[in-house]
């Protein structure tokens, strides 16, 4: 096999630079690439050679010049591996600013460590890594390595611009397979066509980018996958941990998934079946039954992640989860699915890309490397309910910001289908706060405050609600971070149902919150919900993207000591912007001062030119939020 690879590489030799001494002199980096760059990828060549479904050669040659401490990690050699990956070769060198070789390194210099993610109890993933310590900047690290993948379900994608603040002088990616092999390819944000070569029954495709300046992260910008180049490869016929299959779209992949990985493992012990039937026996509708079973699952299980081999894709059998009382997202979803099946309620295992940033499963390209989490979809006649099965405290049917508003891949017995999870739009994602506070002569504020969280904001204070004692007070102090604040009569009420709400009720005191000087007193009426300002960037490049909208309302009534008069009359401010609106009023009536604030921020995408406008809106809000009321005292 080795001979074949060498031959192919020799044939494709013209893709590689001349074997002579490479030029790593920093002076030869184009000026435009040095600007605002922590590091520059001088040269990167990745060759993926699919010799067979269980023998995929993956070779990387890379050279990175580091300019400053922030760029250091970009020069680290990192190889993730597991049981299905064999590391063949590692070698590298370090060069100084002039491009002279300082020293070499090999596999022996690498550290080998387990790579179990912090959310897992165990995984079979490991990592080898190495980073030379260099006395000054700039310097260049060049290395090459080769691994053999013993599967072809997941072919490492090409992401030449993987990091912020890193420029790319040259990066290329070549995929080689037999001419007869069927593969599907997705190239996004890539101009032009790959270079194709055909030789002795082998086909090679090469994508390349040159001279990409460093990009910086811009606040309120869209998912980088929507504008950074990426190439993904998905062979039609695949082999993965002794499982074989074929797919060209989500439907077929779903079909395989349902058949190979999901069809078994839903059986439950007879005792559980009986218990489940008894539990929901008295309930009329399927929805009520499902809700009851969801709570049953929450009581009986917890999230513990273990990922080994095919277990990274195949859920643990429901009976095993039942016995252990724990499972990962796949195992818990499968368990929930099994519980629902006992009472003949169908449900779908759904793969989702979870995270606060919303990322869709791509409709136009099916591949197994998309998604990092699993949730359950329960279709009812009138509506569809979505269940997050790894939480002990989310209410039935609530997803939250981890998986809301995105396309997911549902695995049904008849095949895969794309579905969309519900969105919590600005009007329903609300935080409504009412407070009645007494202002004492010494500036102390005390009184009662009630806040209702709903929609996408439902879980803002859920962790506080579920804690107790001094732990709860600590969390409250972090949420309402005012000097010397005290809490009493802490109470939370959860209202479950179609749109769950959490009501928080507190008695608060803030000693000497509003200080006096001479015959004046100063009160910042917006105590807890002040908008931070944001930087206005020159040369905004990306579209403006507001990930999630919301509506906040605050209504504070202050009872003033006698003789207090507001200086300068009432406030009545309205800001309207394409991004939302802001209304603020403050007025005194007798000894009552009423402060109302309403901020609506709308989610959505706007052109880059509007960034300054968003900035102005947010910063204006910030200024008004920090506005003080000045009183004269009699």
């Amino acid at each position: 096999m080795k001979a074949v690879t060498l031959m192919v590489l020799a044939v494709l030799g013209s893709l590689r630079p001349a074997a002579a001494q490479p030029d790593y002199a920093v002076a030869h980096i184009p000026a435009a690439l040095k600007s605002r760059a922590d590091a520059v990828v001088r040269y990167e060549e990745i060759v993926v050679d699919m010799l067979s479904p269980t023998n995929v050669r993956y070779r990387v040659d890379r050279a990175v010049t580091v300019f400053n401490p922030s760029g250091e990690e970009r020069a680290r050699l990192v190889i993730h591996y597991d049981k299905a990956t064999a590391i063949k070769q590692i070698s590298g060198s370090v060069y100084d600013e002039m491009g002279f070789q300082l020293r070499k390194f090999t596999k022996r210099d690498c550290r080998d460590e387990s790579a179990v993610s912090n959310f897992s109890l165990y995984e079979d993933s490991r990592v080898k890594h190495f980073l030379p310590a260099m006395a000054g900047y700039p310097y260049t690290v060049a290395y090459s390595y080769e691994v053999v993948l013993k599967q072809n379900l997941i072919i490492p994608a090409w992401r030449p611009e993987a990091y912020w603040d890193v420029a790319v002088q040259r990066s290329q990616y070549t995929f080689i397979c037999a001419e007869a092999d069927e593969v599907r390819i997705s190239a996004t944000n890539y101009d032009g066509e790959p270079v194709r070569r055909l030789d002795k029954g082998r086909r090679a495709l090469t994508w390349a980018v040159d001279n990409l300046p460093a990009r910086r992260y811009e606040p309120y910008s869209p998912d980088p996958e929507t504008y950074k180049p990426m190439v993904r490869i998905a062979p039609v016929h695949f082999d993965y941990y002794k499982h074989r299959g074929q797919y060209s779209n989500w439907e077929e992949l779903g079909n395989w998934m349902s058949g190979a990985l999901l069809s078994e493992g839903t059986a439950l012990p007879a005792k559980t079946v009986a218990e489940v039937k008894a539990l929901v026996g008295g309930l009329a509708g399927d929805r009520e039954k499902a809700a009851e079973l969801y709570r049953y699952m929450q009581r009986k299980t917890r999230y513990v992640s273990v990922q080994i081999g095919i277990g990274g894709f195949r859920p643990t059998a429901a009976a095993v989860v039942e016995g252990l009382g724990y499972g990962d997202c796949k195992g818990l979803v499968n368990y929930m699915r099994a519980l629902l099946a006992v009472v003949d309620i169908p449900s779908y295992y759904c793969v989702v890309e979870a995270g606060n940033a919303k990322r869709d499963i791509r409709a136009d390209f099916a591949s197994m490397d998309q998604g990092n989490h699993v949730i359950l979809c329960v279709p009812f006649d009138q509506d569809t309910v979505w269940l997050e099965c790894t939480s002990q405290r989310l209410p039935f049917g609530f997803l939250g910001s981890f998986t809301d508003d995105r396309t997911v891949w549902a695995c049904m017995p008849e095949g895969g289908r794309l579905l969309r999870t519900p969105a919590y739009a600005a009007p329903v994602s609300t935080q409504e706060r009412h407070a009645d506070l007494q202002l004492a002569e010494d500036g102390t504020l005390s009184g009662h405050m009630r806040t209702i969280f709903s929609g996408g904001q439902y879980d803002n204070h859920l962790d506080i609600a579920e804690s107790s004692g001094t732990g709860q007070v600590k969390l409250l102090k972090a949420a309402y971070d005012v000097d010397h604040i005290g809490f009493e009569h802490i109470d939370y009420q959860k209202q479950e149902g179609d749109s769950p709400t959490l009501a928080e009720s507190l008695d608060i005191t803030m000693p000497r919150y509003a200080p006096s000087s001479g015959n004046q007193a100063f009160l910042l009426p917006n105590i807890f919900n002040k908008q931070f300002s944001m930087p206005n960037l020159n040369n905004r490049k990306q579209d403006v993207y507001v990930n999630r909208g919301y509506t906040d309302e605050d209504h504070f009534t202050y009872t003033l000591p006698t003789g207090y008069t507001v200086v300068g009359g009432p406030w009545d401010i309205t800001l309207n912007s394409p991004f939302g609106c802001y209304e603020l009023t403050m007025e005194q009536e007798g000894d009552q001062l009423s402060y109302r604030r309403r901020l609506v921020l709308k989610g959505g995408t706007y052109p880059a030119e509007r960034y300054a406008e968003l900035c102005k809106f947010i910063n204006d809000v910030s200024v008004f939020d920090h506005r003080k009321v000045v009183f004269t005292k009699k």
């Binding site: 760059a37 109890l121 004692g469």
Partner: protein
């Protein structure tokens, strides 16, 4: 830190049979079932009901050395789902460099005990759910989590650890981050080993007992008598970490052992824990310590390129320090010993802490200076034992150079530190100075410079309501070091200034200049031309102006209701603001915050503000100083109140009024 030395006159002890005092596995007490959340404290989500350990030694004939065996057994109650994390157990096992001497974990047994419908149901751990994670070459973790966990479950487990690492016997952690009702430890130590035993933490032992255990250790066909010690504590509160504290191990209640003597069967005695004079000799002759300090020949050829004859001693020391800072990069490994040896480190341009600072000492000595080594323990490594020399406590070495009547402590591992300033992680109580010729001695390293920042604003409030002027910031000590570290991440000054502009949202930075970026011994000076839009225009009668817009204190850093541990800031700090603002001619100051002078007891801190107007020029000055690197817990509320007053003061505006008839 509280430490108690536990001693026993073993020879005086009466003999007797020794029974294990372990509690029966899986058999619950009624109290175990009854215990509810809040019975012990108001915040813990789990509690240890009972914990038992016993440690003893066996001689392994095939391996030819003595091993330690520890049997551990614990019963825990999990009150609610927030306590579920205590149901995941990680047992580390260590390997030494050679890979031969390995800890072995065996006999792991675990059950979950639930009460279901009034019945007690016990679910054992399935051995297939026991995972071994090879974390690195030196460490393998045995991991599991309990099955069928519910709110209110009782979980119980036990295991055996067999370890060739006997130097520290077995540290018994009495205190954990959940409360413990009972913790008992039995140690059986053969008479041929003597350990120094220390109890750390504020709580007294409830059980402390010693017995003679006849012939309990067998070696080379002989039975050796052992001392059998029992330590126990009850109702141990949960350990809660607080902000501004050093390593938790300095405060947590635990029993520590260190081997001091081994008596061989032939009657000879090996002193393991020695007097400092023995340790001195050992370190000075150690090839990777004293051996490196002495290698001034390494510098023979390069020294003339670093220092000149016209330099005085201080100049020479500074030049050598700078040279090492710039020529050997820290590879992120700690250690008091040289790893590569200093010659290799200089050639490769990288090395561990030992390589760097021992090279510095050798260089200082090569230049004829009085250079010594200072071994210490970093802040997160805990403080060192100052009763006996325990070399393993020390994980770091720095240089001390004595010039005339003064000395400087130097760490060349950070290229941005000024001469004589140690990094904060080295400021951690006592450190020991090792001299090649003289006996060693203790010093207490302190930060040689305060963390000081001075802001000077000279500005004019123009008729369009915009404040325009120049802000100069001088930073010293750690404050300067932090800024230089930030600056190092930008390739050009323009990029750095742009970053500062984005960060300082209160102002707009129009242009800037930076001085002292390279000269580490000088202040780091930033000049920025700034504008601040204060008002839309100056049409109004009354203008409210808040002078506290530079580095304002918005939140009280001390917000606890009670404080158990000292507040450790590492270094004293000082922040000064001085503003002169030219007001529009037609406005006058009608009210201003009272001048303020607030002092913390024992000269611990000061807050001072002053406002004045002269010829339409407003001057405002502010000083905030915390003069001590650490404050005892009793001072916590004074600190809290101090910051509370500052926050109140900073809310008060001054009022400018349009002059009559204008």
């Amino acid at each position: 830190m509280m430490k108690t030395i536990l001693t026993f006159a073993i020879l005086m002890l009466l003999g007797g049979c020794v029974y294990s005092q372990d509690f029966a596995f899986g058999s619950l007490n009624p109290e175990d079932l009854k215990l509810a959340k809040n019975d012990l404290d108001s915040f813990s989500n789990a509690a240890v009901l009972n914990e038992y350990g016993r440690a003893f030694m066996v001689y392994d004939d095939t391996k030819g050395y003595t091993e330690l065996i520890v049997d551990y057994h614990a019963r825990i109650k999990v009150f609610n789902s927030d306590g579920y994390r205590h149901a995941t157990v990680v047992i580390p096992a260590y390997k030494d460099e050679s890979g031969e001497r390995v800890d072995v974990i065996s006999e792991v047994k675990a059950v979950t005990i639930n009460v279901t419908d009034g019945r007690i149901v016990t679910v054992p751990l399935d051995q297939s759910q026991l995972y071994k994670e090879e974390v690195s070459r030196y460490r393998t973790d045995t991991k599991f989590t309990f099955p069928d966990l519910r709110e209110g479950s009782i979980i119980e487990y036990s295991y055996r650890l067999r370890s060739p690492h006997i130097f520290n016997f077995h540290t018994w952690n009495l205190q954990d981050d959940i409360p413990k009702i009972n913790s008992l430890f039995e140690a059986t130590i053969p008479g041929m080993y003597t350990y120094n035993v220390t109890l750390r933490g504020p709580y007294p032992l409830a059980v402390q007992d010693a017995k003679l255990s006849r012939g309990a250790f067998r070696i080379a066909g002989r039975d050796i008598d052992c001392s059998h010690m029992t330590y126990g504590m009850s109702n141990i509160p949960a350990f809660v970490s607080e902000d501004y504290m050093t390593a938790p191990s300095n405060f947590k209640s635990a029993i520590y052992f260190e081997l001091s003597d081994v008596y061989r069967l032939n009657g000879t005695n090996i002193k393991i824990t020695k007097e400092w004079k023995n340790v001195d000799r050992e370190l000075v002759s150690h090839a990777d310590f004293g051996g490196q300090m002495k290698r001034d020949n390494v510098f023979k050829s390069i020294l003339p390129t670093i220092v000149t004859d016209t330099m005085d001693d201080l100049g020479k020391a500074q030049a050598i320090y700078r040279y090492i800072q710039q020529h050997i990069r820290w590879n992120r490994y700690l250690g008091k010993y040289s790893e590569l040896n200093i010659k290799n480190a200089l050639e490769r341009g990288s090395g561990n802490i030992g390589d760097i600072n021992l090279a510095l000492i050798a260089g200082l000595r090569a230049a004829g200076l009085d250079g010594e080594a200072v071994i210490l323990s970093t802040r997160d490594n805990g403080v060192v034992n100052d009763v006996h020399p325990v070399l393993s406590d020390f994980n770091y070495v720095v240089a001390k150079v004595n010039i005339g009547d003064t000395y400087y402590l130097l760490d060349a591992s950070d290229p941005l530190l000024p001469f004589g300033l140690l990094p904060l992680h080295c400021i951690n109580g006592k450190a020991r100075v090792i001299n090649l010729k003289a006996p060693s001695y203790w010093i207490v390293p302190e930060s040689s410079q305060k963390s000081t920042t001075q802001y000077m604003l000279k500005a004019k409030l123009d008729a369009d309501g915009v404040l325009r002027g120049r802000l100069t910031t001088n930073s010293y000590g750690y404050a300067a070091w932090r800024k230089r570290k930030e600056l190092a991440n930008y390739n050009t000054l323009e990029e750095y200034i742009e970053y500062r502009d984005e960060k300082l949202t209160a102002f707009q930075v129009e242009a800037g200049e930076i001085l002292g970026a390279e000269e580490l011994d000088k202040p780091f000076v930033e000049h920025y031309d700034i504008t601040v839009r204060l008002y839309d225009s100056l049409q109004r009668e009354d203008l409210f102006f808040n002078p506290f817009f530079i580095n304002r204190v918005n939140k009280n850093p001390f917000n606890l209701d009670e404080r158990t541990y000292p507040v450790d800031l590492g270094a004293a700090m000082e922040e000064r603001v001085l503003m002169t603002i030219e007001l529009p001619a037609d406005y006058e100051l009608v009210s201003k915050p009272d001048d303020y002078n607030l002092v913390l007891e024992n000269r611990g801190g000061r807050y001072l503000t002053q406002t004045g107007v002269d010829n339409n020029v407003l001057t405002f000055s502010q000083l905030l100083a915390l003069n001590h690197p650490t404050y005892p817990p009793e001072s916590y509320f004074a600190l809290k109140e101090f910051f509370s007053r500052i926050i109140q003061q900073e809310k008060i505006d001054m009022v400018l009024r349009k002059k009559e008839g204008q």
